[in-house]
């Protein structure tokens, strides 16, 4: 359908398509639309009579609330969870720029949550100490994956998954002594250690929601900072060079092994911080009986790819993912499983795999096809092999 409109005003659309930013945006939009469409079809299959209503619940999220006050409060809830999601997606995209797939953000997040809550509930520490502990905990797990990759050539995806499970069991058993008798959730901070709660700077008042804290501005500032680091600094130059071509990074004397570890340390810190921002907002408590790794870290993958692997794009994509997840949670459980939102997220991630292909098609439509010569394609393949050939 889009091709038709292109024909009408060819020049304008060609110009638009020639812009890489627009291509990223359009590709993301395509992923979202297809994802939502499939989600709608699933709703139709499960229960056709409530499908329209279900879809609008997912898409409207807080806008379905009755009063202005409740809407604002509900928006606040979504934002509280957007902040950690944004940080998880930054963690993943930062590592991805260095050629690493940090699926361990989920586990680093778990460990960060454990560290923050342990400091808050067991050691009665103030919020900034808890925050720092979470960052350090995430960093350590990141460092383990990074070191295994750099020195022992262990595929980071598999090591990360193992660490995800290890962190889940560890945190479950460490926090089990800090639950009210008979409950599976840890104590609220308000009841045990209010000093561990993040400052609100009056944001709680604006949203009428005590969980809205500095977590939200912090996460946005960090997104900007990551953007600056990646595009403007020497460190970002090194990270990206390592990600594009690790052999060349080594050739020109970058300490590519240390850079891999450092990248994973930063990625781990971001994921650890993500957990601290959520749990130190006292928005939710740790469930010591949970038997699978929280999805926050995995949804971060969706947010980072949907945002075109751009730190500022991630701000919007993280909000979108959280928006539909919360919308999905308010589905009427008499008719629909709430996991439909997870399903839509997963479909969107899957479709993100096709983004490169979609972008290439758009580039062709813009008339800006790069000259396709046999020797150039050989380069591409060669390069792919090098990336994979890694550090040997």
């Amino acid at each position: 359908m889009e091709t038709k409109s292109v024909q009408k005003d060819k020049n304008f659309f060609q110009k638009l398509l020639a812009h890489p930013g627009f291509r990223s945006f359009a590709a993301a939009l395509a992923c979202i639309l297809i994802g939502l469409l499939i989600g709608y079809i699933v709703l139709l299959i499960i229960n056709p009579s409530h499908a329209g209503e279900g879809m609008s619940t997912i898409l409207k999220n807080f806008m379905t609330r009755n009063s202005e006050k409740l809407r604002l409060k509900s928006l606040g809830n979504t934002l509280v969870k957007t902040a950690p999601l944004l940080l998880c997606s930054l963690s993943i995209l930062f590592a991805y720029k260095a050629g690493l797939f940090n699926i361990g953000a989920a586990g680093q997040y778990v460990l960060g949550a454990g560290a923050a809550l342990y400091c808050a509930l067991a050691l009665n520490m103030p919020w900034y100490v808890c925050l720092l502990a979470a960052v350090l905990a995430g960093a350590v797990f990141g460092a383990i994956s990074g070191a295994l990759k750099a020195y022992l050539n262990v595929n980071e995806v598999i090591s990360c998954i193992m660490l995800n499970w290890i962190s889940l069991y560890t945190v479950n058993s460490v926090l089990k002594d800090f639950c009210p008798v008979g409950y599976k959730d840890t104590f609220t901070l308000v009841s045990k250690n209010p000093s561990a709660m993040l400052p609100t700077l009056g944001l709680d008042g604006i949203f009428g929601n005590s969980s809205v804290t500095i977590a939200i501005p912090i996460s946005i500032l960090i997104a900007v900072a990551i953007w600056i680091i990646l595009t403007k600094t020497k460190f970002g130059y090194e990270i990206k060079a390592t990600g594009y071509n690790r052999n060349a990074a080594k050739y020109c004397g970058m300490r590519e092994k240390q850079n891999i570890i450092l990248t994973m340390v930063i990625a781990g810190s971001l994921a650890g911080l993500a957990a601290a921002l959520l749990f130190l907002s006292d928005f939710s408590q740790w469930d010591i009986n949970q038997s699978s790794v929280p999805t926050m870290g995995f949804n971060g993958i969706a947010a980072s790819f949907l945002g075109g692997l751009h730190p500022l794009g991630a701000i919007f994509s993280a909000y979108f993912i959280q928006h539909i997840t919360d919308g999905g949670a308010s589905l009427d459980t008499r008719f629909y499983p709430v996991q439909i939102a997870d399903l839509i997220s997963a479909i969107i991630i899957y479709l993100c795999g096709f983004v490169l292909f979609i972008k290439l098609k758009m580039l062709k439509a813009s008339g800006g096809i790069p000259q396709k010569r046999p020797d150039m394609e050989a380069d591409i393949k060669h390069d792919a092999e090098n990336k994979k050939g890694g550090d040997k």
Partner: protein, 316 residues
């Protein structure tokens, strides 16, 4: 003594799961496609098998129930693995990303389907993600009260078949050529895309069966919100430890199986009770062991050379 028997039983059950799924990963990677999505494939295979076990009449002969469940697991697993095939082979997508998405998708899809069925069946009151199959599961056991089941025999057959297929047949030779040097394979007229689809589909079938075996291991109901607890990834570690060779994969699977089984039966051993390790340590053990094993084996691993690299015909 009884505890040792139990340990052996559980070891064999988990080793069966890991062998099947790791063989699946082996076939996919030997054809050149990295299959991170095994976890999701297992969940979908488990769903297919669980639906059959949950619906089929327990009065039927055990072998019929068995074959129907396995067939369903294979079909579900293969259909789901097509997602990887399409993304990796036709669209040259990032295979890690596609696989990760499949893991999330498998879990979400299975949960949604089971919940929707439960909601529909109960008129909205039951929205759990569980399927129970106590009676039918018993028919699959070779000896009641044990964990020895028809699946172990199937695993042995599949293992032997996988070995022969890979090393003794035209198909195996061509499959390996596509994973090592697709340009070479294509230059002698082999369709790399077809062989890779074959590899991915075989991994779907084996991963699907593996998922079915997992959800019948010592339990008679499956909760799809939990999935398969990282077994798909443990299988990848088994595959790497087994150096992508079927006969070594089974040994690696047995090793991992022991550690996973200990999580179930550790309290019966005096020397383990004396150590007084908390249960979470046993739960973590398979993952810790696999990390250590990977650390020692990855440096000199002989992964198929072209795995993970999309094959482009024009790059010959």
């Amino acid at each position: 003594m009884q505890q040792i028997m139990l340990l052996i039983q559980y070891t064999l059950v988990y080793a069966s799961v890991l062998t099947l799924v790791a063989l699946g990963g082996c076939y996919s990677e030997r054809s050149g496609v990295i299959n991170i999505g095994l976890e999701g494939i297992m969940v979908m295979g488990a769903l297919g098998g669980a639906l059959v076990l949950g619906c089929i009449s327990p009065d039927l002969p055990g072998i019929v129930i068995f074959l129907a469940a396995v067939l369903a697991a294979i079909v579900f697993g293969m259909l789901f693995s097509l997602l990887l095939g399409v993304a990796a082979i036709n669209f040259k997508a990032d295979q890690t990303l596609a696989g990760t998405a499949m893991n999330m998708l498998g879990l979400a899809l299975a949960t949604v389907i089971v919940k929707a069925l439960n909601i529909a069946a109960s008129g909205g009151s039951n929205n759990s993600a569980e399927i129970a199959y106590t009676a039918t599961r018993e028919k699959l056991l070779l000896a009641q009260g044990t964990e020895f089941s028809m699946f172990m025999i199937l695993t042995a057959i599949i293992l032997a078949a996988a070995y022969v297929l890979l090393y003794k047949t035209r198909f195996g030779l061509r499959l390996m050529a596509c994973g090592e040097h697709p340009q070479a394979a294509n230059s002698v007229g082999i369709s790399v895309a077809k062989m890779r689809y074959a590899g991915v589909l075989i991994s779907g079938a084996l991963g699907g069966i593996g998922g079915l075996v997992y959800i019948t291991a010592g339990v008679s109901k499956a909760n799809f919100e939990v999935g398969v607890a990282g077994f798909g990834f443990l299988a990848l570690a088994v595959m790497i430890f087994g150096q992508w060779k079927p006969h070594r994969i089974v040994l690696a699977a047995l090793l991992f199986g022991v550690f996973r089984a200990l999580a179930n039966v550790n309290n019966g051993f005096d020397f383990l009770t004396a150590l007084n390790l908390p249960q979470p340590v046993y739960n973590m053990l398979p993952y810790i062991i696999s990390l250590i094993v990977l650390a020692f084996t990855s440096k000199n691993s002989h992964a198929p050379k072209a795995e993970g690299i999309p094959y482009d015909k024009s790059t010959r």
